[in-house]
Structures are given as C-alpha cells and as structure tokens.
C-alpha cells in the first residue's frame, strides 16, 4: 500500500511541475472555459430581471454565486478525456502503461489530481474578478465549506470513473464521437452544469435524481452556493460515495473484458 501511495505522490508531483511549465497554455484554456458559465449567468440574470428579480426563488446574486462556484467545480471535474482513448488504443500508447506494475487508472487519478493544484492556484484571480463583476450573494457556514472540500473530490472521482468507462468503449470501436456527444449532452442538461436543477421540468429533475451526473456538478455547487438542509448535505456525500463505488466496479468489469481485445498497434 505504501508503494501505491508513493506512486501517487510521484505522479502528482510530476503533474504539478509539468503543468507549471505550461502555465500560459493552462491560463488561456481556463479563460476560454470561463465563457461558458458567464454566458449561462448572463442569460439567467436577464431572465431573473425580466421576472421581477428572481426565477423560482433564485435571485441574480444567487445565480452569480452558483456560476462562480461552478468555475471551480468544473476545473475539479476535468479528468482524462474519453477522446484520449483513441490515441491509447489506436496508436498503442496503452502498451507502455500495461507493463507498469500498477493499474493505469492510478496513473490518471494521480496525474489529474496533481494538476488540480496548479489549476486552483490559477483559478483564484479569475474567481476574484468574477466576484467583483457579478456580485454574488453567499451565505456559507463552516460545515458547508468542509462538505464542499470533500464533495469536489467526490465529483472528481465519480467523473474520472464514468469517463474511463465511456472511453474504454474505444476497445470495441473507434467510431465513438457521436456516442460521446450524446453522453456529454445528457450530462450538460441533467447535471446542473447548464442550469440549477430546480429549474428543470419535474420529469427531468426526477431523471437527474437517479443519474450520477448531478453529483459531479449540481450537488457540490449547491453545497456552497445554495442552501441545502443538513440532511441533504450529508445525504449528498453518501450518494457520492455510492456512485464512486459503482463507478469503480464498472471500470473494473469493462477493463477486464476490454483489455483482452487490445492488440498493441504501432510502437
């Protein structure tokens, strides 16, 4: 076990150093990403104004808080992309990972976790500017901060597992882009990424309850920016734990069958 811990430490440390080298690239990438929540925020603030100040009880300031926390959660959510599996499988990049004595999943988890350190550092000034411009209203208790700090890592783990499973479809076919886009559309609409889930029509909100997506966006955001009850706070963490376990099980099963189909192509 201490062997695995040192793998995590070394890989995460490498990620920090590598990504610090690419800080300009990282920054431009983050700035490009800010466009998305800013657009949603402006649209919903406009709607709130038109409706006399709030939509279903959510005021302009609440929307600002929601989408500013969104930017941090989104950055925590960035994991190995399913599109990357095409390179791993078609060009044989996986071969090198297979001869290592640890499961390749550990490498991805450790690398992206280390990257987060850089990302959060770069995120701080962006958050400050957004706060000055959009004037969010926050009402945060210490316990919410605590739950939030756990929940963003829960979100990270859930999304890592889900996108690993999705990416491994490439073991069977490389024509995957349409499938991926369908997946990301479902995630966009039902996770809280596009809009706070209470604004969904009732049937869609019910669907969202039964899917894992909300635990990667909506739940962590609302811990900090919404006002969840104590039961909802802890219940969310429990649900996250359940989805992490389910996701890990899915990764294990799909990996077992998928990797048998892998034939090292290229070098």
């Amino acid at each position: 076990m201490s062997g695995l811990a040192s793998v995590y430490r070394v890989v995460a440390g490498t990620a920090v150093q590598t990504q610090l080298q690419y800080r300009t690239t990282n920054y431009l990438f983050m700035l490009g990403m800010i466009a998305e929540p800013v657009v949603y925020l402006v649209v919903w603030q406009t709607v709130a104004d038109a409706q006399g100040g709030s939509v279903q009880g959510i005021t302009a300031g609440d929307f600002a808080a929601y989408y500013i926390v969104w930017t941090l959660v989104r950055n925590m959510n960035i994991v190995f992309t399913p599109y990357g599996w095409e390179g791993r499988i078609r060009q044989g990049e996986l071969s090198g990972m297979l001869v290592r004595p640890v499961h390749p999943l550990h490498h991805d988890l450790a690398y992206f976790a280390g990257w987060k350190v850089v990302v959060v550092l770069l995120w701080l000034p962006i958050a400050a500017v957004l706060t000055l411009v959009f004037r969010p209203t926050f009402d945060v208790s210490p316990v919410e901060v605590l739950v939030f700090l756990v929940a963003i890592w829960g979100a990270y783990l859930i999304r890592s597992m889900l996108l690993w499973v999705l990416g491994m479809v490439t073991f069977w076919t490389t024509r995957v882009s349409a499938l991926y886009e369908l997946y990301f559309t479902a995630e966009l609409l039902l996770s809280g990424r596009l809009l706070p889930l209470v604004l969904l029509p009732a049937w869609a909100a019910t669907a969202a309850d039964w899917l894992p997506f909300r635990y990667t966006f909506g739940y962590p955001i609302e811990v900090l920016a919404g006002d969840l009850t104590t039961a909802e706070l802890w219940g969310g963490l429990a649900a996250q734990g359940a989805w992490v376990l389910a996701g890990t099980a899915m990764v294990a099963v799909v990996w077992r069958f998928g990797v048998r189909r892998y034939s090292a192509v290229g070098n």
């Binding site: 990438f29 800010i34 657009v39 649209v43 596009l194």
Partner: protein, 261 residues
C-alpha cells in the same frame, strides 16, 4: 479574376478530396443533430421561465441560433481547417511551398483545406433560420432579406479575417492552439444576441471577438432591428479588419524563417 479562378480550382480539389470519405457524412449529421437538439432544449428551458430575453422572443432567438449554427459550419468547414494547416506549416517550415507559388500568399493559405462534411451545419443552420422565420409574426420583406444576405457575407469575411489574424501570431509564437481554444470558447457566446450582455462584455464581443458582426447583425436584419447605419458600420468594420489582417500578415511573413531554421 485570376484569384476567383484560383479559389474555384482549390474548392473543387478540396471537395474531391473529401468525397473520398463519404461515410463521414453520417457522423457529421449525427453530431449536428445532437448539437442542435441540445441548443433547442436550452432555448426551451430558458423560455419555460420567461417569454422574452432582453427584448427578443423565443422565435427571434431561434433566428439567432440558426445563424450561429450556420456560421459555426462555415468556421469548421472552411476557416479552421485552413488555419490549422497554416499553423502546422509555419511550425514545420513547409509554408515555403506556398510562398514560392506565383499567387497571393494570404489568399492561398486561406483556401487550401476544406472539410466538406462539417458544412452540414450550414444547411442545418439555414433550415433553422427558415423554420424560425415561418413562425415569426412579421415576415421580413425583400429589403430585410437583402440586408441579411449582405450582413451574412460580411460576417463570413469578419470571421475569416479574425481567425487569420490570430493564426498569424504563429509567426512569432509558433503554436497558437491555446489561443484558438480560447476563441472557440468565446464563440459559444454568439448563441445569444450580444445585446443581452452587460456593457463591457458587449463591447468585447463586438470588437475584440467580433461575434456581433458575425452572428447578431445578420439575425437583426431578419427580425427588423437593422438600420442602414448599422449595416454601413458593419461594412466599415469588415474593411478595417481585413486591412489590419493584411498588414499583420505582411509583417508576420518577415518573421517567418523557413524550412531550414
């Protein structure tokens, strides 16, 4: 005249190349359908909570979305492939082969590559605009449609010049991927009319990232919001931007050091 013939030849070659990969059209259509379905769902969600957004009705916003999809198709099929090729050529020094040809280099780099199947979005976007128009209370007159066509053409030129201007930065910094990434992110903001954004952001989306001229202005033409002055302003902006791009291109070429560097 000579350059028109050149554009025609290159387009024909580009189309012929792409026709070898006909099955890709299926995937382009699928992707396009998913993207449009998402946009419609977003619009429906917003309008389930309000009946107008910054003075635009749902059907009018559908016009904006149609123009957004259409322009996105132009961007991905004609503009971006050529610009990616240009970036690669600057990095590898293969731009030499363009510069030694007896034609205008800025024109040549812009027409060398097209991705035909991405232009599915042009048709889809046009279809959305047509559908939205059929639902509007006041149909645009002949003059409005004429204004739309002119504004759309200006918009295409603005997008091309702007993307080329950014890619030209490659002469100095070699890789501009992350810059392009940044701008592709910003492009999404064009899904909504720039008039809904707060002042400073609206100015940014008008002049720094010219989404206003590429998407909002054509949509304004069809929804009775375009004045002659606005159209003239768009024309003046387009001319100015092309001139700037041309100048930066000529300066950038001098910084290009060629294959053996």
């Amino acid at each position: 005249m000579e350059s028109l013939r050149l554009v025609g030849t290159f387009l024909r070659i580009g189309v012929q190349t792409e026709l070898q990969y006909r099955s890709n059209v299926v995937f382009s259509v699928l992707q396009s359908l998913v993207a449009v379905g998402t946009s419609l769902a977003v619009l429906a969600l917003v309008f389930s909570h309000t009946d107008s957004l910054g003075g635009w009705s749902g059907d009018e916003l559908l016009v904006v979305m149609g123009v957004y999809v259409l322009m996105g198709g132009v961007l991905r099929s004609v503009v971006q492939p050529a610009m990616n090729q240009l970036m690669d050529d600057v990095q590898h020094g293969t731009l030499d082969f363009v510069l030694t040809k007896p034609a205008d280099s800025m024109l040549l780099v812009s027409i060398r590559r097209i991705e035909l199947w991405q232009s599915v979005d042009v048709l889809v976007g046009a279809g959305i605009v047509g559908f939205a128009l059929s639902r509007l209370d006041t149909r645009p007159g002949l003059l409005a449609v004429l204004g739309f066509v002119v504004a759309l053409a200006l918009g295409v030129v603005v997008l091309w010049a702007f993307w080329l201007l950014l890619t030209t930065a490659a002469f100095w910094v070699v890789r501009t991927d992350s810059l392009v990434e940044l701008l592709s992110g910003m492009y999404q903001a064009g899904r909504w009319p720039v008039t809904i954004y707060p002042g400073w952001l609206r100015i940014g989306f008008t002049f720094l990232v010219p989404l206003a001229f590429a998407i909002t202005v054509p949509a304004q033409a069809l929804t009775g919001r375009l004045s002659v002055w606005l159209l003239l302003g768009a024309a003046a902006f387009t001319v100015g931007l092309v001139a700037l791009t041309r100048w930066v291109w000529s300066v950038g070429l001098r910084a290009y050091s060629g294959a053996s560097a």
